[in-house]
Subunit: 547 residues, 2 copies
Amino acid sequence: MSQYALGLDFGTESARAVLVGVTTGTTMATAVAPYPDSVIDQRLPGTNALLPPDWALQNPADWLSTLEKTIKQVMAESHTTPREVVGIGIDFTACTVLPTKSDGTALASLPGLREHPHAWAKLWKHHAAQPQADRVNAQARDRGEKWLPRYGGKISSEWLIPKALQLLEEAPEMYAQADRIVEGADWVAWQLTGTLARNACGAGYKGTWHKGDGYPSAEFLAALHPGLANLYTAKMAGPVVAPGRRVGGLTSAWAERLGLTAGTPVAAPIIDAHAAAIGGGVVGPDVLFMIMGTSTCHMLMAEREVQVEGISGVVEDGIVPGLFGYEAGQAGVGDIFAWFVESATPPDMHAEAAHRNVLLHTVLSEKAAALRPGQSGLLALDWWNGCRTPLVDADLGGVVLGYSLTTSPEAVYRALIESTAFGTRLIVELFTSAGVPVTSMRAGGGLTKNETLLSIYADVLGLPLEVSGSEQASALGAAILGAVAGGAHASVAEAARVMAPPPSRKIAPHPEHRAVYEALYHEYCRLADFFGRDANSTLKRLRALQR
Amino acid sequence: MSQYALGLDFGTESARAVLVGVTTGTTMATAVAPYPDSVIDQRLPGTNALLPPDWALQNPADWLSTLEKTIKQVMAESHTTPREVVGIGIDFTACTVLPTKSDGTALASLPGLREHPHAWAKLWKHHAAQPQADRVNAQARDRGEKWLPRYGGKISSEWLIPKALQLLEEAPEMYAQADRIVEGADWVAWQLTGTLARNACGAGYKGTWHKGDGYPSAEFLAALHPGLANLYTAKMAGPVVAPGRRVGGLTSAWAERLGLTAGTPVAAPIIDAHAAAIGGGVVGPDVLFMIMGTSTCHMLMAEREVQVEGISGVVEDGIVPGLFGYEAGQAGVGDIFAWFVESATPPDMHAEAAHRNVLLHTVLSEKAAALRPGQSGLLALDWWNGCRTPLVDADLGGVVLGYSLTTSPEAVYRALIESTAFGTRLIVELFTSAGVPVTSMRAGGGLTKNETLLSIYADVLGLPLEVSGSEQASALGAAILGAVAGGAHASVAEAARVMAPPPSRKIAPHPEHRAVYEALYHEYCRLADFFGRDANSTLKRLRALQR
């Protein structure tokens, strides 16, 4: 009998299911279903009340309806029998949290509550808890909370404590009714199995959990707001489980609804970006995995925990059980190139792209590839969207130096790509100097289609760069976790070796570009210090003047 | 009997004549004629031999044919009788020099020589003498030549000594045949009057002449090249005469050819930019006059000579007899905006301009005007074409700081305008701190059509800014000098008071913008120091990598 694992990938706009052979890694079928209510950032479904700015919600019912639809579709398309499904894995955006009753009922599904925005799931990109985040960070700094450095000295408004504090402060009655506050990922697993557990990835990277130290103390929470003291003890109750460990078996009700076998193991979930590392075959130390899209998320594993400046988090069991998962980030990457194409590229380039029926990015990349490193005389700092790692400072801005009257659009485009590569190298050097080695890189995400960019990254980093072999690495990563939970493989690493495809290609650095990029990177670091580390930096004063 | 003065304005592409009433300032007629051979930068007329790169020549015969044509035209159109013309003034590009025989015959007109590029007039923008300029500057620095600081510590390849040295080194036989080397301005006056004099403006700003100290020494010249020792004593012979003083009277031959009266006084010429100050009515201290076009030339007068960092020159009698004329410069101004429009503005802006049938500059300026100072979070350094005053460094590049993902084209455009205003303020503060006061500004040139720019300049400088009332200020300035030489007025200042129109408009600074621009200017200065004064500046290293 063939054995398959189901991978469920819950994204921002849609859910996806894949069915993957556990001994072949072959994807038998894929199905995608958009969430009926999509991202809720204008008005609550069925009401006319406008949401405040920076709000972003989801409807938990959408997760269930789309998982049902997509699972049924892949089962039908692949002609798989229920008994051939050995396990189910889940990846999810995070921190995407919802308030529930103690039996798992989402408050958003209760009559009389669903008209209240705070009853709904707050999506990862809900940014309305910034005032709360500022207070959390200030208080944690003042008290010298030892968990803070694990998160680069600053947590995001997207994370659990700010979102919970916003709920408490703006809707205390809703907070009181919320017996539990739970990541969407864990809520789906809870629904499917009847068992509430907290996945170590979400708990660690977004919920400030630590395997040794646990959660921030009740004293810390009470100092933020007396009502928050019970956040972890009551509302976040439940064991923390490493991704791929079995949370429970599919309930009879859900087995019937989905056409699967009751008791089918469901794995502890994982965040979508981290699932992509597993699906991309990166399940051990030394290889930096990057999801390169509008921004870049860097993941790296090691056997010990050290402090690294400005990272997004370090979590034991956060990606692969038994290893410390490090996450770092660049706040703007593809976003910067998109800005350039939209706002700073002249008509002749647009016309050429239209004439050739290709993306403008393609035209610019081709022309940029014809320039040799250093030829343009340009250098940029990639801070259009601030700097996550290492400076953790949103109040910075992008910089371009060296313009002349003959500076071409493609020269600027290349400088922008190079700047993001320098930003990546800075992160890699932070890791290596902290004792977390990086010997190669592997990348996934939309930007890996850009060969010019890949080549520049390999050259700037002086490291080989592999491109992830999977087109849907997150969903595959989830399936791998499902296979492990189902006992088809003894470990995530073993499962990935069998189920994850090899890299689609490998780009080697050009030795002849090394010296120039060393020199340019030196200048990048000098400018990053000058503009980024000085409290009186011009960039910070410009932002202050702007307000 | 009415009295008129002729102003002859020799530009880069064409000559212009104006006839102006000496008591009314009314321009009776204007005529423009393009030079038949135009700018000679590809091949010599009548030959197929390509000129080397960076060469730019003119045909001296073109100056004479166009002056004849335009004078006859204005005389005919205005129905003026020859006796009503009291004097003739001349302004000219500089340093535009030609080799001649001792009787004034241009070598370019001699059979057997005219096939040789070095026989022709080297136009101001002939840049092929850069190696010679580098050696002149290095040797002057090494020897501590006291004239060097009067020129900001560096003279340009456009000036007399480098051009003469190039002639000597590349065509020694031509140098030997050149009994005289003479500015085009002075050559035209010589032709018209039979008298060779050197106008103090050209001699001072381009020929390193000083009223007290004379020219650089024969020892200095001999150290550059033994053959150059006699440059000033022999080839540059002739008295130096302040602009507006009488050089001589029109010869009978030229009077007949032009239909004017023999003996009509011809004034010592002036450089075109400096003539524009006079035509713009700026003939005394305290008012900074700016010609704002692709670059900006700043002129300021004072009653004493002091050292000011990085100025283009300080010359006694250089603009108005009896005063010290200071000249400073910004190497790129309108050029930067043109680059932005050409290379960095997206199609929707172009489409809007086309739809409204206006210049893209108009669209950008309108949108930029709607932004308040500091709103964009941007700051720029205006060094796209290097920095003339105060840094005298071509190896710098433009900088833009503070980009975000929402930065708009008009925000960048405004930041570029502001950067050039900050550059002007830096120059003004250099003057005032050196003891040369500036209490207001007056501007001419193409950029004065841009109201947004004018308003930003007034705000950034915190000074009222007037716009020159004359559309052809250089030619009017020349006519004013002609009137003075003809005795119609006792001084240039008196003539200008009568003949120059009042400013067309006056822009007052907005007090409410003062504080933000103070802060932004402070940052501009900080960055200018960081990037401009450090020998290890990133901008200089980027240029070094580029080569």
